[in-house]
Symmetry: C2
């Protein structure tokens, strides 16, 4: 049998990538190639035709995920905002928005952390992290303020991983104040930190 439907190879490839993400999210990293293939309407042989090995498939899934997150942050960049802290604000908003759907956030985080056990993927993640940190560091905010704000955002976004819910109004309030700190970092810096 030849091409199953009027589907282009690129479509198939993407379908496989999507299916892999979905299946791994529910069945863990031990998901079967056969499972993933079926889910994409393809046989295992067809999958292997597009991705030479399971590792290669998972690496591509990770790459897609990281790219999606980066796009998410970019989409939160305010075009009218040119003040220092502009990127940090987008970062915070991107991290705290999905906090309203903790179940989904948990699945995504679990997926990435599972994938990170593959050395090649861990390298990708490390590189991406480094790039984010560099951009954050160059965002024009005092290091201490930037670190507080991004750490808090990281904390909220990782909370669902341990089963905590992050939907309450106190989280919205926190987001609001973190954003405000990036607008007026002096608020934080001028506090009487004396011993």
């Amino acid at each position: 049998m030849g091409r199953t439907a009027g589907r282009s190879p690129e479509d198939t490839r993407r379908a496989l990538l999507d299916a892999a993400g979905e299946v791994i999210r529910t069945r863990g990293i031990n998901a079967t190639l056969d499972d993933i293939a079926r889910h994409a309407g393809v046989s295992k042989g067809g999958l292997i035709y597009h991705f030479a090995s399971k590792d290669e498939l998972l690496r591509e899934v990770a790459r897609t995920l990281l790219a999606a997150f980066r796009a998410e942050v970019d989409s939160h960049l305010d075009p009218d905002d040119t003040a220092p802290g502009r990127f940090t604000r987008a970062y915070v908003r991107a991290l705290l928005a999905p906090a309203q759907d903790p179940a989904a956030a948990r699945r995504s985080l679990a997926l990435l952390s599972q994938l990170s056990t593959i050395p090649a993927v861990a390298e990708l993640v490390d590189a991406d992290t480094e790039r984010f940190n560099a951009e954050l560091a160059a965002d024009g905010l005092p290091t201490d303020v930037m670190l507080l704000v991004t750490s808090a955002a990281d904390g909220v976004s990782s909370a669902p991983m341990w089963g905590a819910s992050t939907t309450g109004p106190e989280y919205r309030r926190l987001e609001d104040r973190l954003i405000r700190l990036t607008h007026e970092p002096s608020l934080w810096q001028s506090l009487p930190w004396s011993s």
Copy 2:
């Protein structure tokens, strides 16, 4: 062949638990029963005698891990400290102390997140999280301050997972200021948060 050495069954059990943690930390959740058993100086059959299934073994490992973390927090409780925020301070210190060995922190987090893919373990983790959150909420601090402080601590402790290093002096400074906020929550609350 019977008992290998003058080791008591309880010792063997503990050795198996330790070996499981160690092997899984390096080889992932797919670590072999045989591997774990050998590492503890026991055969696979011997392992199964003590833990009926791999799931049961992993569940015990998770339980041990969670207990260890709780003990870690407890060990950071200052006996002379009776002011509000006492528990929060211990929590922050417990989370930021291992931040000085990010590699180890990463392995531990990876281990727990791997284990969390087992439903029974996920339940354990959820229950533990809930208990921590309840204790933090009852610690006498304004919700907003407690949330900021613990979120930031969570963020720092989860950073190694993505490959970030958390050894710099700016992290020590952050810890210092978070602790200080718990002593004087009014610092945060009295900031001009006006729109």
